[in-house]
Every structure is written in C-alpha cells, then in structure tokens.
C-alpha cells in the first residue's frame, strides 16, 4: 500500500530561527497520526505546511502521489480544523458546514442535504439553523469538524482541536473524535502537546522537539521503548541514569548491575526507568525523599543509598507504608529497562 502523504526532508526557517529541520514523515490512508511536542517544537509549523498555509524553505510534500509543496490550500485534498475553530460568526451552523460545497458550486439542495448529513455524523443535527455563538465549546468543535469533513478531504488536519476545552470535555471529545475518524475513514493528523491525548487517539505518534522528529511509531512502542531521552521524559516520566555496558545484556548503574536487552559491550549508555517498573522488593536500598498520594497509587521519589544524587521515581501501591525519610528496599523490572545513547 502506498503512503497517502509523504514529507521529504522538510526544513523551515522564520528569519534566524530554524523551526523545522530535515523532517521526513509518511502518513498511511485511514490512520490517526498525532504530532506531539512542546510549544516551539515545530509541530504546528509542520501542520501549516501540510495544509498549504506555509511554504517550506526546503523539502517536498506529496499527497496522493502528487507534489503539493507549492499548491494553495484550496486546491489540495486537505482540510483544516483550526484551533479557534474559525467558524464564520455571521453564518448559521448549516451555512458554515455547507460553505466548502458552495465554493465548489454544488447545487443548494444537495449541499444543504450533505451538510445536514455531516452534522448528523457529528451528533449536531438539531443545530443546523443556530448561529455559532449560540453553541457550547464542544459543539463548535464538532461544527468545525463537520465543516472540514464535508468537502471529503483525503487528510484532515487538526490544530490543537481540544486546546480550548476543559479537561472533562477534552477526554469526552477524544473518544468522539476517534469514533468519528473510524466512521468516516479519513486520515487525521492531529497536533497536541498533551501526551495523554496523543496516546488515547493515535495509531501513530510523532514526537517532535526543536524542529526535529525525535521518535515515531505506535503509542505502545513509543511509550514502552522510547528511542531518545526526550521521548522517555516527554511521553510519561522516566528516571534517566548513566550506565556502563559490562557485557551484552548486562549494565552497571550507580546503584547496581541489571540485566537488559542487548547493547554493545564496553560502551557508556543511559538507562531509562519508568516509575511503574520500580516496585518494593529486595535489591536497592534507598531513602524516601518525597511521597505524593495520587489516589490509585503513590508517586515516590527515593534516593538510592549507593547513589544519593539520583532521584529514582517509583509508582508504589496506594497502601504502601512509605513516609518521607523512611528507608525502603526497591527492585526493578529489569526486562522493561530501556537503553538509550549516553
């Protein structure tokens, strides 16, 4: 199967600032891709280039095998859901959704019927004659989605679409977005800085930092086997400790020797340890520095006796008898340790 979107060696500068640096990416038909990164990572710039609102300094964008690098937004098979939704405030919801078809010259009866149908798909069939300002945030979000989907784009681009919503509504809209995407089968490209949102939605996560792609793959892979230090700490928490590979499958850290996956013997590396892979048990003697009760678990910061400078994060059972200052013994689930470049 050929890729729907191929981005080759894309770079972009704003004056002195290099906002995208040699980015390459492919997007499969029907996939849900999430571009994840902190602000300033270049994710929104990449989306703008995909949508045709920015021309890259260098590099190419192919959509459906066609070079779209310099094609204006109107002519490319993409549609964008804007962060502020950009619903036309003087038009009814129905006219907003029908706008793209009207621009194509679709007859009125047809476009109104299609708009109504699309509003039903997003669960807003009753809102056809309302004005955008009469709707709630979540409803506006769905209108923006319908307006973009009704022109049947090959790729739907969403720029922080849930950013303006409160936490509870966000989680609810995530489920709906995913359901709508499965229903219409369009490829979605979604920009966010919220890693939970990324993991909940994505088939394919692209982690970005400083204009580069740090890591990409399925959320399970990116979380479970992060490729870089940045990914290991941005997608969930990790303790990163320096280590020496003593022999293949065995590393020495400041607080002990652990079995791991393969690594070149004799090299200096880093080991990333997820908090949930640290349990109470025999092995590492440590002192508890901080305890934060999280309801279903306790987030504990412990300093190993052998290396008191290191803050080892652990996710312990909610009823674990730990208090600040108490001595504990911890063990690592060594199969889950991730070896990173030093």
């Amino acid at each position: 199967m050929t890729a729907l979107v191929t981005v080759e060696d894309l770079s972009h500068r704003f004056g002195q600032a290099q906002v995208l640096d040699a980015v390459s990416l492919t997007i499969e038909p029907g996939s849900y891709t999430v571009l994840l990164g902190p602000s300033g990572s270049g994710k929104t710039t990449l989306l703008s280039i995909l949508g045709g609102f920015l021309q890259p300094t260098t590099g190419c964008v192919f959509i459906k095998g066609e070079d779209c690098t310099t094609m204006p937004p109107a002519r490319r098979p993409t549609a964008t859901v804007f962060q502020d939704y950009a619903l036309f405030p003087h038009m009814s919801v129905g006219s907003n959704v029908a706008f793209g078809l009207r621009m194509k010259g679709t007859p009125k009866a047809v476009r109104l019927a299609r708009a109504q149908e699309m509003l039903r798909t997003v669960g807003l069939e009753h809102a056809f004659d309302r004005k955008p300002h009469q709707l709630s945030g979540g409803q506006r979000q769905r209108v923006a989605l319908a307006r973009a989907l009704v022109v049947e784009p090959a790729v739907l681009l969403l720029d922080e679409p849930l950013g303006a919503l409160d936490l509870k509504l966000r989680r609810q809209m995530q489920d709906e977005l995913k359901a709508i995407q499965k229903r219409v089968g369009t490829a979605f490209v979604h920009v966010t800085h919220d890693q939970e949102e990324a993991m909940a939605l994505a088939d394919h996560v692209v982690v970005m930092n400083h204009g580069r792609i740090e890591d990409q793959g399925s959320p399970e892979r990116v979380y479970g086997r992060p490729a870089t230090r940045f990914t290991a700490t941005f997608m969930g928490e990790s303790t990163i400790v320096p280590a020496h590979v003593e022999q293949s499958g065995q590393v020495r850290t400041p607080f002990g020797v652990f079995k791991t996956q393969d690594a070149t013997r004799g090299t200096e590396v880093c080991v990333a340890i997820r908090p949930e892979h640290v349990q109470l048990g025999p092995g590492i003697a440590a002192t508890v520095k901080d305890v934060c009760y999280q309801g279903s678990f306790k987030r504990v910061v412990a300093s190993p006796a052998a290396a008191p400078d290191i803050d080892l994060l652990a996710q312990l059972p909610a009823d674990a008898p730990v208090t600040v200052g108490s001595a504990v013994s911890l063990q690592l689930d060594s199969e889950k340790l991730v070896i990173l470049k030093a």
């Binding site: 109107a74 549609a79 962060q83 502020d84 036309f88 706008f99 307006r147």
Partner: protein, 279 residues
C-alpha cells in the same frame, strides 16, 4: 461580591462628571430649546422660527445640500478607504504596518482650520492643481474648483479617508487570520472569501465609521465655509450666519435643534440596522 466602601465615596466619584454634564451640556441645550421658542422681535412664545425653516426654500435647501454633500462624502470616503486599509492590513509586511498607518494619518495632526486652508491653496484659481495642469497643457484655462461644492467634498473626503482607514484597518486586523485561511482551505478564491466572509464580518465596523462620518461632516462649519464659500450654504453655515450677521439667536437655536433631530434620526436608523446585523 464587590468590596463596597461606604456610599458617600461612590457618589463622590461620579457626581462631578454628572454635574458638569448637567450644568454645561443638558441645561444649555434646554436653554437653546427655550430660546428657539421666542423668535426675535416677537412678544410671546411661538414656533415661527421652525415654521420659517419649512416655509423658506433657501433654508430648506441648506438641509438638502448638507444631506447630499454628507452622503456623497460618506460613500466616496468608504470606497477609497476600504481598499487602502486592506492593503495596509494584508499586503504591507507586518513590521512596516505601524509606520505605514502612522504616515497615513499624519495630516490629521495639522490643525483643522489649516487643513481646509491648505486645500484652498491646492484648488484655488492660481493654485498648485491648476498650475500643474496648465503647465502640462491638460488645461487651456484654469478651472474654478475652490468655492464650489466639489471643493467642500474634496476637503471632507481627505479628512474622512484618514479616519475611515484607521477604523477599517482596526476592524480587519481584529478578525482572526484563520477566517481567511478557513475560507481559502474550503475552496474560496480571494474574491469569494472577501464577499462571503470578510465583507460581512467588517460591515458593522463600516457602519460605525459611516455614522461617525455622517455626524462629523453634517455638523462641520469650517470645511464648507473655507472651501465651499457662500455660493451655496450648508446647515452649519446657515446657523452661524443667523448669529454672525443677524444676531438672531432664536433662529440659530431652532436650526440647531432641527440639525440635531436629523442626526438623531440617522443614529436611530443606524442603531436599528446594526442590531439586526449582529443578531
């Protein structure tokens, strides 16, 4: 809940402004209303100064002149200012916009009297405009523009193009750039995006600008007096003439109140229209 200091403070803060407006605005206005009912040379109160306005064709004519001039000025100014504001907002690079806008309204800072006078320099018989055209052999003899309605209109348009450029520019800039992007994304060409999205969104702002133009132009004495001369009178000229030449305060008051009523009607018309647009 608001923290409420004791109530003397609350009233002390707003009373001076209210009193000032009452004593020096509302009461004088009422005094003018009363004065208009006591025509010069008549013993008792009467409406004869108002009747005079409708009976005397030259008085009536000054109102229609004013309305015609103001309407023409408003339309021309908007037509000239809109594309200019558009260029400033969307064609001029972002970092030059502030400077470009400042330059565009720089002549605002000449005194109002001087601005009209400088158009007189340009438009008078021996002035720059005629000299240039004669020199280029585009004219065989000077044309008379000063002391005509055309001169009044040019002077007004000059002022209101600057004012409307400011208001329309502000209007265009406060629209989210995503509206234009969204329209383009959904297949609208520049013309379609303008007609279906940008124009409707800026229409309320244009109406406010148009109303402002109307109110300021119809009440202005200087521009028609300096540039238009006395060949045809506009309302403010007629009013000033009642005081200056005839010392007739009653008639001047009656005419002022009529002018006020005209402006109020325009306001009501605009306000209603704007409200409908916003719903």
């Amino acid at each position: 809940m608001r923290a409420e200091p004791f109530s003397a403070v609350r009233w002390a803060s707003v009373t001076p402004a209210l009193l000032w407006t009452l004593v020096f605005f509302a009461v004088p206005f009422a005094a003018m209303g009363v004065a208009s009912l006591f025509p010069k040379g008549e013993a008792g109160p009467s409406l004869s100064d108002y009747a005079q306005f409708f009976a005397n064709p030259s008085y009536w004519r000054s109102l229609t002149n004013s309305l015609e001039v103001t309407a023409v000025v408003t339309v021309i100014s908007i037509l000239l200012a809109y594309p200019f504001a558009w260029i400033l907002a969307f064609v001029v690079p972002e970092r030059w916009q502030r400077l470009a806008l400042m330059l565009a309204v720089l002549p605002f800072w000449t005194s109002y009297v001087v601005r009209s006078y400088s158009w007189l320099l340009v438009l008078s018989e021996g002035g720059a405009f005629n000299s240039a055209l004669l020199h280029l052999h585009l004219l065989s003899e000077p044309i008379e523009i000063a002391n005509t309605r055309a001169a009044t209109i040019i002077g007004f348009v000059h002022f209101f193009v600057m004012l409307l450029t400011l208001t329309i520019y502000a209007n265009l800039k406060q629209l989210s750039p995503n509206y234009r992007k969204a329209a383009a994304d959904l297949g609208a060409g520049p013309v379609q995006a303008f007609i279906h999205v940008i124009l409707p969104l800026t229409l309320p702002g244009i109406m406010v600008g148009a109303f402002l133009t109307f109110v300021l132009a119809i009440g202005d004495y200087i521009t028609p007096q300096i540039l238009g001369g006395n060949n045809e009178l506009l309302m403010p000229q007629l009013i000033m003439m009642q005081i200056g030449r005839r010392g007739d305060f009653a008639s001047a008051s009656a005419l002022s109140i009529i002018l006020m009523v005209v402006v109020s009607i325009a306001y009501l018309a605009c306000a209603r229209w704007l409200k409908i647009e916003r719903a």
